[in-house]
Assembly symmetry: none
Homo-oligomer: 413 residues x 2
């Protein structure tokens, strides 16, 4: 199967936003064994949109569109698809009801223009949108398939994962099976070097490495006649990969490090508190992004000022004066003070320099100290993170905090 990914929206042509949908969908299509032939972007213009839909089918049998499904006048994707396919647009009563209930529930007036979000080409398969008001849909005619989804990634991505992918998987020829491994402390090029002969010698399963923000992933994929055959091929390759990079793999199920750590805490009935300086609440946020952590997470203290470090955590003025706020001593006193207040089983702390200012030759931007009080003992860990930018350093620091917890929970029993 060959497809074109068509993005609709004048804001994309203005360069106001990055087209992350296209990257996401390209990855997903390729994973499913569907070849992506073209990316196209067109503005909210009916004639050009219709022309693009027609042209995209020149060497493809499928188009995926994002954007232009909303309530406003310039949202025209649905109408132009119907025209290009020679289909009538009708109101789907059940979709109208969902829409009306949505506005009722939030006690918001439903303006006239919203009604068109319940209209679809007559023979469309509708994909409900639990995260917004514009549903997606699929339409097929004369061997040409089109799948249309809303533009906001927070609506498009869940719709794709929960509805569109299963819909497409039922149509794909052959069975694809894959595993995505998460790897830390081993950059993408190092990872590739260790696996180069496997990568080069294999046509199926294929191995592909991807660099993510602070880690790498390795995807082992096989496409065979049956799922069982594909699974067996992936398993066999996985065993070889484990031999090469086993200690660096922290997940074979594409799971976030934070989820793995928090699940372990929950299983073992351990409580966690955190005292943050340079990460400024980013670790607490990452923990509480996960629902159901209140059984584990007691409290977080963001002590941005020295005063707050002393008052909230009992860090001593002398320690701050002698070693500076960014030091193993302060990290350890933060963890200690946090324990006195919270009595949590794991008391984690961090102090560091997120930049762009505040660095020195001795303590450069990117230097962090992580403290941990656990089983009556306080330790600290020093990392020098790559100084690319503040956002990167802060999120990388959070990753390292989870890494310290991971190693404490899984490797040091």
């Amino acid at each position: 199967m060959k497809c074109t990914i068509l993005s609709v929206g004048t804001e994309l042509l203005f360069g106001s936003i990055l087209n992350t949908n296209t990257v996401y969908l390209s990855q997903q299509m390729n994973e499913m064994g569907i070849d992506v032939m073209y990316h196209m972007t067109v503005g909210d213009n009916p004639l050009r949109l219709k022309d693009m839909i027609r042209h995209a089918y020149v060497d493809c049998d499928m188009i995926i569109t994002t954007g232009g499904l909303g309530p406003t006048q310039d949202d025209l994707t649905k109408e132009m698809i119907a025209e290009a396919f020679g289909e009538e647009i009708i109101t789907f009563p059940e979709q109208l009801e969902i829409l009306q209930n949505h506005f009722k529930r939030y006690d918001r007036p439903m303006t006239e223009n919203n009604l068109k979000q319940a209209n679809f080409p007559k023979n469309a398969t509708v994909f409900p949108n639990p995260n917004g008001t514009a549903p997606g849909f699929a339409l097929e005619k004369s061997g040409k398939l089109i799948v249309s989804m809303p533009g906001p990634p927070k609506e498009m991505v869940p719709m794709f994962e929960q509805q569109v992918r299963p819909f497409l998987e039922n149509r794909s020829d052959g069975a694809l099976f894959y595993k995505t491994l998460r790897v830390f402390e081993l950059g993408e090029s190092m990872l590739e070097t260790r696996l180069l002969d496997l990568i080069n010698s294999q046509t199926d399963p294929t191995l592909a490495t991807y660099a993510k923000d602070h880690e790498s992933t390795l995807r082992i994929a096989s496409k065979r006649k049956t799922r069982a055959e594909a699974e067996a091929a992936v398993s066999e390759m996985l065993a070889k990969v484990r031999e090469r990079i086993g200690p660096f793999i922290y997940s074979e199920e594409d799971e976030d490090l934070s989820r793995i750590v928090l699940r372990k805490l929950l299983q073992d009935g351990l409580s966690l508190s955190v005292a943050e300086s340079c990460t400024g609440g980013a670790f607490s946020k990452a923990v509480t992004d996960v629902p159901g952590v209140s059984a584990v997470f007691d409290r977080g203290i963001v002590t941005y000022s020295n005063q707050a470090k002393m008052q909230e955590l009992g860090v001593r003025a002398e320690t701050l004066a002698q070693y500076g706020a960014v030091s193993s001593q302060v990290a350890e006193e933060m963890a200690d003070g946090l324990y006195r207040a919270s009595r949590s089983d794991l008391c984690l702390s961090i102090t560091g320099i997120a930049g762009p200012d505040g660095g020195s030759a001795e303590k450069p931007v990117g230097l962090i100290y992580i403290g941990l009080r656990h089983r009556g003992e306080v330790r600290s860990y020093r990392y020098q993170l790559r100084n690319s930018n503040r956002r990167y350093i802060r999120s990388n620091a959070v990753m390292h905090m989870f890494l310290v917890l991971y190693k404490t929970l899984f490797r040091e029993d």
Copy 2:
């Protein structure tokens, strides 16, 4: 002038990299008053590439390509452009010399395939590449212009800035000016309803609404002969827009609410602390994402458990028992307790239900209370946020916390 931005490279179709070139070039074209009609991406395939070049001219008089100019076999952009334009490819002797010197300088052997980087369509204007080996070029024939640049952004961007932009500026008709307004508490469809007659009656300036996560933006754009004329037209329209939706506009410069609030605190020399329950550190994180806030931000307390609320903030057990953790009373006691510890000028607190569990008929998921102690007075604000998912509710809650601060700082003097 109307243009298509055409990216060449199979790696883009795999979704391995984000297409930042297209965003950059779209912004640049729009600033120069050149309309971007399409984005297109095609792989390193000669036939499809040639077809795209032809199709892109349907309603454009210009194409900008990036990628496919390198030395390898699958770098074919130049060759396909020459074919599409019916031009002969010849070696440019001065470019060959530059190329040979480049390899000499870095003491690298020059393989045979590198030679083609000195070849161009016969009538091309060449743009030398000081940051790589593949020069760019422009070609014009029968009123159709094509500009071709290498793919790596660190080569493309300087080439554009130093050579291509001056080349194009000599040819551009008219100047574009626009303003992007940020609007809160008014959804995209409501915003459009209020401005519909303006949107419909105008061809220049144009008005376009976009939905963002928890707000809407409105873009007013004008293209006139001179920048001064375009600016005047936008100003005049802006005045009309202010009459309709003035109180909902918080920025006329496309600025984040958090930045506006934090700058105001800095200007007025006010300090801020926060006590978070349901947002779990997300507000502290958002504040400390901004560098240089340590002069303003004192501390953040994430009290996830009731125990932590009592110990860290002095919330009373009776209040928790009588009204529940999610109540205006608890929000106010949190703000009060935070003030006792920090003495900050603004002590902000939040308690709410981020879901997916924990809601009830009386207190549904998405209910939040924001407390604020300011000038000796404690207030609380109740909001029922749309229950789409935990992540959305939490980030929307953070937005509302900034909104409370914004109104306090700007509207209640």
